[in-house]
């Protein structure tokens, strides 16, 4: 699925490029650059989705960016355009309900505050990535949603039900992959699944579920002998019982190898396509940006940013640095590059020209350098990636010396592989 080329958007998709690719390395890289313009580095937006669906999904939300990049690294302004001022709509145009709604939720353990006046609004039908470093309050939030713990203040509703008064009704319609769980060592995988089926009063087939989460060959073994990853798969299987309207997954990729993480994402997508809302937490951005419609970043018990992935990416792409290695630096090339619109800065180090520019301007920069008489030997993009954005929020704004850490830099030519490398 990941190698399916994305649909042609604005005539610059990869579909019509792959065939004539491989003329030379640069061409492939060039293609990648243009793909980045649309999808951002390392992104694999649902390739099989139509343009209109994609637009609709982002529709009304692109403008909801909670923060805007003010140009300095780590310096995200707190300017907020009221999130969700425009209600997202479903593909058929019906206004969406809230799947998860936190109002001013505070949770203190003694004098320690785990959540502080947290507001959250996850709409039905979206995939919401709940990001933050360990200890930011992600699990606390999820525990509140499931009534494992009770908030000190504020209210929380899931699928329209109060989390405390109607917890059981919520859990009838929710599939959960909790954090810090343990399986029943002596029960087999099948008994676990049967217990979930029994509890939810459905008629799912344990074998089909096991097959889906990839533990079919271990279903009759005691779960005590499962690896962490297998236990994770088993509990995901339990979460899928009864076709839940909402999936709450706390750090779903814990213990999974890259392949397992990819399968996890595929299941998340499939469940979302079925109509389920997916809310999952992670401290690893790479798991989130590929599949989320929206992302919330939590730090120190507060939601510090919330935006669509596209919105975040748009903001970060503005800060991308293009490094072009040339055989020689022609006179005046720096001035030419600087004159390009949307190039904020350019400088030369030895035979490398670095330009901080809009993502969309990368091709123009390369062309300008070539026009000046230089031969481009290699180039790479050093995105101010989502990781960096993430770091800027979660590291308390402290500077990070590394550039984009999203994976191999722009020379990477396959989006799908790129994504795997991130996991």
């Amino acid at each position: 699925m990941l190698n399916v080329p994305p649909p042609a958007l604005s005539g610059a998709g990869r579909g019509d490029r792959d065939d004539d690719g491989n003329r030379d390395g640069l061409e492939i890289s060039d293609t990648e650059t243009e793909t980045n313009v649309l999808f951002g580095k390392g992104s694999s937006r649902r390739p099989n989705e139509t343009k209109s669906a994609l637009d609709n999904r982002a529709g009304g939300r692109r403008c909801n960016r909670a923060r805007r990049f003010d140009g300095t690294r780590g310096g995200w302004s707190l300017q907020t355009e009221t999130a969700l001022s425009i209600a997202p709509t479903r593909r058929d145009g019906v206004a969406l309900m809230s799947a998860i709604e936190l109002n001013n939720v505070t949770k203190r353990f003694g004098s320690v505050s785990a959540l502080e006046n947290c507001d959250l609004d996850v709409r039905e039908g979206e995939i919401y990535g709940f990001l933050g470093p360990n200890g930011a309050g992600k699990s606390t939030t999820i525990n509140v949603l499931l009534d494992f713990i009770r908030p000190t203040g504020g209210t929380a509703r899931v699928l329209g039900h109060d989390t405390q008064a109607e917890s059981q009704r919520i859990r009838e319609r929710v599939g959960v992959l909790p954090e810090g769980f343990d399986v029943y060592d002596r029960l087999t995988g099948r008994q676990h699944l049967e217990f979930a089926i029994d509890s939810k009063n459905t008629n799912d087939d344990p074998d089909a579920l096991a097959e889906r989460v990839g533990i079919a060959d271990a279903i009759d073994r005691k779960a005590g002998g499962y690896s962490k990853g297998m236990a994770q798969r088993l509990v995901l299987g339990m979460a899928l019982v009864g076709q839940p309207d909402l999936l709450i997954l706390d750090e779903p990729s814990t213990g999974l190898d890259p392949n397992g993480a990819r399968e996890m994402r595929e299941i998340i997508r499939a469940e979302n396509d079925r109509g389920a809302t997916v809310f999952f937490s992670s401290h690893i951005l790479g798991q989130v940006d590929a599949i989320c419609d929206r992302v919330g970043i939590l730090r120190g018990g507060e939601l510090v940013a919330e935006d669509t992935v596209e919105g975040l990416r748009e903001a970060t792409s503005a800060e991308a640095t293009l490094a072009v290695e040339v055989d020689r630096v022609p006179d005046g090339v720096l001035e030419d590059v600087r004159e390009l619109p949307s190039v904020s800065e350019a400088r030369v180090e030895d035979t490398t020209i670095r330009a901080s520019c809009d993502d969309a301007a990368k091709t123009k920069v390369i062309r300008t350098i070539e026009d000046a008489g230089a031969t481009v030997e290699d180039f790479s993009t050093e995105d101010a990636s989502l990781e960096e954005l993430f770091a800027s929020y979660t590291d308390d704004g402290t500077d990070r010396s590394t550039g984009g850490t999203g994976g191999p830099d722009g020379t990477d030519d396959r989006v799908g592989e790129h994504e795997e490398a991130r996991t």
């Binding site: 769980f181 399986v183 029943y184 002596r186 008994q191």
Partner: protein, 295 residues
């Protein structure tokens, strides 16, 4: 239904873990072994005069039962909920549409089932030995004896489940349950006596010793006040013996022969009331704490 789903899972967990098997083996060994010992080695057990020898068996079994059965009850129950809290599997349990009441009730039922199966099997094997060893076999009384022994053990089991629900640590749950057992099994009489002694201005009333309580000067005279007799009979094992007395027409001194002339709360049937209170109250207290606690 949710409660039963939890109970079924808990029971199959016990089957899988072989803890059921271990319990059954233990009770078979205990009940059959003790019966064999009493009937065939010690020569019958020696019940009161004029009563068939087989009743001596019941009398001989009472003391070992009141020690072993509560301990097994505690061991069966104390980890039931807090163990899942400590391991984190309670999150699996409560991610599914079970209420916390379902969890407490289901766990209680599941553990009672395990415990009851073990006792029934053990006592059934013992019944065969008794049937072979004695001339008569009082089936009805034996069934009542088995049933009341289950109820008696379940009091401690349920108390342990209550503690398991109330606390966040298995060792706290264990020690609270063992403390309950020690208090009512070994110390209760002394505690009540100490109370009498303190209330009396740190001195013993007439016909009273802090070690043995009120004593009668002549046989047949009862000098202990009714409230004292009630309080001392509140321990689960006294209630168990009182309740047992109702199953036997023969006077085996289980229920201290109390009937007719004493206040209702000192009659044998009141043992059922006391057992019922012990079955319900600790569990409700444990549940109410569990309901309010953060997991």
């Amino acid at each position: 239904m949710s409660t039963l789903a939890v109970a079924r899972k808990d029971f199959s967990d016990a089957v899988r873990s072989r803890s059921l098997l271990a319990l059954v083996a233990l009770f078979v060994l205990f009940a059959a072994g003790a019966t064999y010992l009493v009937a065939d080695v010690l020569g019958g057990g020696g019940g009161p005069e004029g009563v068939p020898a087989v009743f001596g068996l019941f009398i001989s079994l009472i003391f070992p039962i009141t020690v072993l059965v509560p301990l097994i009850g505690v061991m069966t129950g104390y980890k039931s909920i807090v163990g899942e809290r400590e391991s984190g599997s309670v999150k699996l349990l409560l991610s599914l549409p079970h209420t916390r009441r379902d969890v407490v009730a289901g766990k209680t039922i599941g553990r009672i089932a395990v415990f009851a199966v073990a006792i029934i099997v053990g006592f059934a094997v013992a019944a065969v030995i008794a049937f072979v060893s004695y001339d008569t076999f009082p089936a009805v009384e034996y069934a009542g004896f088995t049933l009341m022994t289950i109820v008696f053990g379940v009091v401690y089991l349920v108390f342990a489940v209550g503690m398991s629900a109330a606390t966040g640590s298995t060792s706290v749950a264990l020690w609270l349950s063992l403390g309950f057992f020690a208090l009512f099994q070994f110390l209760w009489g002394f505690v009540v006596n100490l109370f009498v002694w303190v209330v009396n201005g740190f001195s013993s009333p007439e016909n009273f010793s802090i070690v043995s309580g009120y004593f009668s000067i002549e046989q047949g005279t009862v000098v202990a006040p009714d409230w004292y007799r009630l309080v001392t009979s509140l321990s689960p094992s006294n209630a168990y013996q009182s309740a047992l007395g109702t199953f036997f027409t023969q006077d085996l001194n289980f229920g201290l022969g109390r009937s007719g002339s004493v206040p209702y709360y000192l009659q044998d049937w009141f043992g059922f009331v006391v057992l019922a209170i012990w079955l319900v109250v600790p569990l409700l207290l444990g549940y109410s704490r569990f309901r309010r606690s953060d997991l």
